[in-house]
Symmetry: C2
Subunit: 114 residues, 2 copies
DNA sequence: AGCAACATGTAGCTATCCTACCTATCCAGC
DNA sequence: GCTGGATAGGTAGGATAGCTACATGTTGCT
Protein backbone atom coordinates (compact mmCIF):
# COMPACT_ATOMS: atom_id res chain seq x y z
CA UNK A 1 0.00 0.00 0.00
CA UNK A 2 1.15 3.54 -0.70
CA UNK A 3 2.64 5.01 2.42
CA UNK A 4 0.48 8.11 2.18
CA UNK A 5 -2.74 6.27 1.56
CA UNK A 6 -4.13 7.62 4.81
CA UNK A 7 -2.40 10.98 4.65
CA UNK A 8 -5.69 12.83 4.21
CA UNK A 9 -6.94 11.75 7.60
CA UNK A 10 -8.42 14.77 9.24
CA UNK A 11 -7.83 17.05 6.26
CA UNK A 12 -10.45 15.80 3.83
CA UNK A 13 -13.36 17.84 5.17
CA UNK A 14 -11.68 21.19 4.64
CA UNK A 15 -10.79 20.24 1.06
CA UNK A 16 -14.37 19.24 0.31
CA UNK A 17 -15.70 22.46 1.80
CA UNK A 18 -13.18 24.49 -0.20
CA UNK A 19 -14.32 22.97 -3.51
CA UNK A 20 -17.81 24.26 -2.76
CA UNK A 21 -16.66 27.76 -1.94
CA UNK A 22 -16.97 29.18 -5.45
CA UNK A 23 -20.44 27.76 -6.01
CA UNK A 24 -22.51 24.57 -5.71
CA UNK A 25 -21.19 21.30 -7.10
CA UNK A 26 -22.51 17.76 -7.19
CA UNK A 27 -20.52 14.91 -5.66
CA UNK A 28 -18.83 13.69 -8.79
CA UNK A 29 -17.79 17.23 -9.69
CA UNK A 30 -16.31 17.67 -6.22
CA UNK A 31 -14.28 14.52 -6.74
CA UNK A 32 -13.06 15.81 -10.12
CA UNK A 33 -12.24 19.26 -8.75
CA UNK A 34 -10.09 17.64 -6.08
CA UNK A 35 -8.31 15.45 -8.61
CA UNK A 36 -7.63 18.25 -11.08
CA UNK A 37 -6.84 20.88 -8.46
CA UNK A 38 -4.21 18.61 -6.91
CA UNK A 39 -2.51 17.60 -10.13
CA UNK A 40 -3.90 14.08 -9.82
CA UNK A 41 -2.60 13.53 -6.32
CA UNK A 42 -6.01 13.40 -4.64
CA UNK A 43 -7.82 11.00 -6.93
CA UNK A 44 -10.19 9.80 -4.26
CA UNK A 45 -12.40 6.73 -4.58
CA UNK A 46 -16.15 7.28 -4.47
CA UNK A 47 -16.19 5.28 -1.26
CA UNK A 48 -14.28 8.15 0.30
CA UNK A 49 -16.04 11.10 -1.27
CA UNK A 50 -19.72 10.24 -0.95
CA UNK A 51 -19.68 9.13 2.69
CA UNK A 52 -17.67 12.23 3.55
CA UNK A 53 -20.24 14.48 1.85
CA UNK A 54 -23.01 12.71 3.76
CA UNK A 55 -21.10 13.32 6.95
CA UNK A 56 -20.75 17.03 6.18
CA UNK A 57 -24.45 17.23 5.28
CA UNK A 58 -25.43 15.50 8.53
CA UNK A 59 -23.28 18.03 10.38
CA UNK A 60 -25.17 20.87 8.68
CA UNK A 61 -22.06 22.22 6.96
CA UNK A 62 -23.37 21.63 3.45
CA UNK A 63 -26.89 21.25 2.03
CA UNK A 64 -27.81 19.02 -0.88
CA UNK A 65 -30.60 19.24 -3.44
CA UNK A 66 -31.50 16.59 -6.00
CA UNK A 67 -31.87 17.44 -9.64
CA UNK A 68 -31.94 15.61 -12.97
CA UNK A 69 -29.76 16.65 -15.92
CA UNK A 70 -29.73 14.63 -19.15
CA UNK A 71 -31.41 11.75 -17.38
CA UNK A 72 -28.71 11.62 -14.74
CA UNK A 73 -29.74 12.27 -11.18
CA UNK A 74 -27.43 14.57 -9.30
CA UNK A 75 -27.20 15.82 -5.78
CA UNK A 76 -25.88 19.35 -5.73
CA UNK A 77 -24.27 20.60 -2.56
CA UNK A 78 -23.79 24.14 -1.37
CA UNK A 79 -22.05 25.56 1.68
CA UNK A 80 -24.30 26.58 4.56
CA UNK A 81 -23.49 29.54 6.80
CA UNK A 82 -22.10 27.10 9.34
CA UNK A 83 -20.07 25.49 6.56
CA UNK A 84 -18.54 28.81 5.61
CA UNK A 85 -17.56 29.47 9.20
CA UNK A 86 -16.16 25.96 9.49
CA UNK A 87 -14.16 26.41 6.29
CA UNK A 88 -12.62 29.65 7.54
CA UNK A 89 -11.67 28.01 10.82
CA UNK A 90 -10.29 24.87 9.22
CA UNK A 91 -8.33 26.87 6.69
CA UNK A 92 -6.62 28.79 9.50
CA UNK A 93 -6.15 25.49 11.29
CA UNK A 94 -4.45 23.97 8.25
CA UNK A 95 -2.06 26.89 8.00
CA UNK A 96 -1.02 26.47 11.61
CA UNK A 97 -0.76 22.71 11.29
CA UNK A 98 1.32 22.93 8.10
CA UNK A 99 3.52 25.61 9.65
CA UNK A 100 4.16 23.45 12.71
CA UNK A 101 5.01 20.36 10.67
CA UNK A 102 7.21 22.28 8.24
CA UNK A 103 9.07 24.00 11.06
CA UNK A 104 9.80 20.63 12.64
CA UNK A 105 10.84 19.09 9.34
CA UNK A 106 12.87 21.91 7.86
CA UNK A 107 14.26 23.35 11.03
CA UNK A 108 13.26 26.82 9.83
CA UNK A 109 10.08 28.84 10.27
CA UNK A 110 7.34 28.68 7.67
CA UNK A 111 7.45 31.13 4.75
CA UNK A 112 5.38 34.10 5.84
CA UNK A 113 1.87 34.16 4.39
CA UNK A 114 1.69 37.93 4.36
CA UNK B 1 -13.43 16.10 20.39
CA UNK B 2 -10.89 18.47 18.92
CA UNK B 3 -11.39 18.72 15.20
CA UNK B 4 -7.75 18.05 14.47
CA UNK B 5 -7.46 15.12 16.80
CA UNK B 6 -6.67 12.86 13.88
CA UNK B 7 -4.78 15.46 11.87
CA UNK B 8 -1.46 13.75 12.46
CA UNK B 9 -2.61 10.51 10.87
CA UNK B 10 0.00 9.54 8.37
CA UNK B 11 2.36 12.36 9.30
CA UNK B 12 3.54 11.31 12.74
CA UNK B 13 6.28 8.96 11.58
CA UNK B 14 8.15 11.60 9.62
CA UNK B 15 8.03 13.95 12.63
CA UNK B 16 9.43 11.29 14.94
CA UNK B 17 12.20 10.45 12.49
CA UNK B 18 13.04 14.15 12.14
CA UNK B 19 13.49 14.61 15.89
CA UNK B 20 16.17 11.90 15.77
CA UNK B 21 18.04 13.44 12.88
CA UNK B 22 20.40 15.55 14.95
CA UNK B 23 21.31 12.72 17.28
CA UNK B 24 19.84 9.96 19.45
CA UNK B 25 17.02 10.72 21.86
CA UNK B 26 14.95 8.65 24.25
CA UNK B 27 11.18 8.45 23.95
CA UNK B 28 10.30 11.10 26.47
CA UNK B 29 12.83 13.48 24.91
CA UNK B 30 11.28 12.86 21.49
CA UNK B 31 7.89 13.74 22.91
CA UNK B 32 9.29 16.95 24.44
CA UNK B 33 11.13 17.89 21.24
CA UNK B 34 7.86 17.59 19.33
CA UNK B 35 6.01 19.69 21.88
CA UNK B 36 8.59 22.43 22.08
CA UNK B 37 9.40 22.45 18.37
CA UNK B 38 5.73 22.92 17.51
CA UNK B 39 5.04 25.68 19.98
CA UNK B 40 2.95 23.34 22.10
CA UNK B 41 0.71 22.23 19.26
CA UNK B 42 1.90 18.64 19.16
CA UNK B 43 1.72 17.73 22.84
CA UNK B 44 1.21 14.04 22.19
CA UNK B 45 0.09 11.55 24.82
CA UNK B 46 2.50 8.77 25.68
CA UNK B 47 -0.01 6.32 24.25
CA UNK B 48 0.73 7.85 20.87
CA UNK B 49 4.48 8.30 21.10
CA UNK B 50 5.67 4.99 22.53
CA UNK B 51 3.66 2.67 20.28
CA UNK B 52 4.74 4.74 17.27
CA UNK B 53 8.40 4.40 18.25
CA UNK B 54 7.94 0.64 18.64
CA UNK B 55 6.38 0.58 15.18
CA UNK B 56 9.34 2.43 13.67
CA UNK B 57 11.77 0.13 15.50
CA UNK B 58 9.94 -2.96 14.22
CA UNK B 59 10.17 -1.51 10.72
CA UNK B 60 13.93 -1.14 11.14
CA UNK B 61 13.84 2.64 10.72
CA UNK B 62 15.18 3.35 14.20
CA UNK B 63 17.21 1.28 16.66
CA UNK B 64 16.86 1.47 20.44
CA UNK B 65 19.31 0.77 23.22
CA UNK B 66 18.51 0.66 26.91
CA UNK B 67 20.50 2.64 29.44
CA UNK B 68 20.13 3.86 33.00
CA UNK B 69 20.69 7.49 34.01
CA UNK B 70 20.15 8.62 37.60
CA UNK B 71 18.25 5.43 38.33
CA UNK B 72 15.84 6.08 35.47
CA UNK B 73 15.76 3.54 32.70
CA UNK B 74 15.75 5.00 29.24
CA UNK B 75 15.53 3.63 25.75
CA UNK B 76 17.58 5.75 23.39
CA UNK B 77 16.72 5.62 19.72
CA UNK B 78 18.87 6.48 16.72
CA UNK B 79 18.08 6.59 13.02
CA UNK B 80 19.19 3.58 10.98
CA UNK B 81 20.36 3.94 7.38
CA UNK B 82 16.90 2.85 6.26
CA UNK B 83 15.41 5.42 8.61
CA UNK B 84 17.48 8.19 7.05
CA UNK B 85 16.34 7.20 3.57
CA UNK B 86 12.76 6.99 4.80
CA UNK B 87 13.02 10.43 6.38
CA UNK B 88 14.30 11.97 3.14
CA UNK B 89 11.48 10.38 1.16
CA UNK B 90 8.79 11.32 3.65
CA UNK B 91 10.07 14.85 3.89
CA UNK B 92 9.73 15.25 0.12
CA UNK B 93 6.36 13.59 0.36
CA UNK B 94 5.20 16.08 2.98
CA UNK B 95 6.25 19.01 0.81
CA UNK B 96 4.19 17.68 -2.08
CA UNK B 97 1.23 16.89 0.13
CA UNK B 98 1.31 20.31 1.78
CA UNK B 99 1.69 22.00 -1.59
CA UNK B 100 -1.34 20.16 -2.97
CA UNK B 101 -3.54 20.96 0.03
CA UNK B 102 -2.45 24.59 0.17
CA UNK B 103 -3.06 25.05 -3.55
CA UNK B 104 -6.57 23.70 -3.15
CA UNK B 105 -7.25 25.82 -0.07
CA UNK B 106 -5.67 29.08 -1.12
CA UNK B 107 -6.36 28.89 -4.83
CA UNK B 108 -2.75 29.83 -5.53
CA UNK B 109 0.34 27.69 -6.00
CA UNK B 110 2.60 26.88 -3.13
CA UNK B 111 5.65 29.12 -2.51
CA UNK B 112 8.40 27.59 -4.62
CA UNK B 113 10.81 25.43 -2.65
CA UNK B 114 13.67 25.91 -5.10
C1' DA C 1 4.11 12.05 53.24
C1' DG C 2 2.39 13.84 49.08
C1' DC C 3 2.83 15.50 44.53
C1' DA C 4 4.83 16.95 40.11
C1' DA C 5 7.98 15.83 36.61
C1' DC C 6 10.49 12.19 34.49
C1' DA C 7 10.30 7.71 32.02
C1' DT C 8 8.10 3.63 29.85
C1' DG C 9 4.48 0.92 28.63
C1' DT C 10 -0.32 -1.67 27.21
C1' DA C 11 -5.45 -2.59 26.17
C1' DG C 12 -9.24 -1.10 24.04
C1' DC C 13 -11.87 2.65 21.62
C1' DT C 14 -12.86 5.30 17.81
C1' DA C 15 -12.54 7.90 13.69
C1' DT C 16 -12.24 7.66 9.03
C1' DC C 17 -10.30 6.44 4.75
C1' DC C 18 -10.00 2.54 1.49
C1' DT C 19 -11.35 -1.75 -0.97
C1' DA C 20 -14.74 -3.90 -3.29
C1' DC C 21 -18.94 -4.04 -4.79
C1' DC C 22 -23.65 -2.49 -6.68
C1' DT C 23 -27.08 0.24 -9.82
C1' DA C 24 -28.04 3.27 -13.67
C1' DT C 25 -27.61 6.65 -17.77
C1' DC C 26 -25.31 8.55 -21.87
C1' DC C 27 -22.38 8.30 -25.81
C1' DA C 28 -18.68 6.70 -28.97
C1' DG C 29 -16.90 2.84 -31.50
C1' DC C 30 -17.45 -1.51 -33.61
C1' DG D 1 -27.40 -3.55 -31.69
C1' DC D 2 -23.94 -4.19 -28.47
C1' DT D 3 -19.99 -3.14 -25.58
C1' DG D 4 -17.25 -0.32 -22.81
C1' DG D 5 -15.91 3.97 -20.69
C1' DA D 6 -17.18 8.18 -18.53
C1' DT D 7 -20.63 10.10 -15.67
C1' DA D 8 -23.42 9.77 -11.36
C1' DG D 9 -24.87 7.83 -7.05
C1' DG D 10 -24.39 4.62 -3.32
C1' DT D 11 -23.14 0.85 0.69
C1' DA D 12 -20.70 -2.80 3.67
C1' DG D 13 -16.79 -4.26 5.77
C1' DG D 14 -11.90 -3.97 6.80
C1' DA D 15 -7.66 -1.76 8.18
C1' DT D 16 -4.79 1.82 10.08
C1' DA D 17 -3.36 4.47 13.65
C1' DG D 18 -3.87 8.03 16.96
C1' DC D 19 -6.27 8.73 21.55
C1' DT D 20 -8.10 7.59 26.28
C1' DA D 21 -7.25 5.56 30.37
C1' DC D 22 -4.62 3.05 33.12
C1' DA D 23 -0.35 0.83 35.20
C1' DT D 24 4.53 0.95 37.07
C1' DG D 25 8.52 3.05 39.00
C1' DT D 26 12.18 6.90 40.16
C1' DT D 27 13.72 11.56 41.50
C1' DG D 28 13.23 15.66 43.95
C1' DC D 29 10.66 19.43 46.10
C1' DT D 30 7.63 20.94 49.83
Amino acid sequence: MRSDAQALKGHLDVLLLATLEDGPRHGYAVKEALREGSGGRFDLPTGTVYPALHRLADAGLIAGTWSVTDGRRRRSYRLTAAGKRKLAGERANWREFAAAVTTLLEGVPWPATS
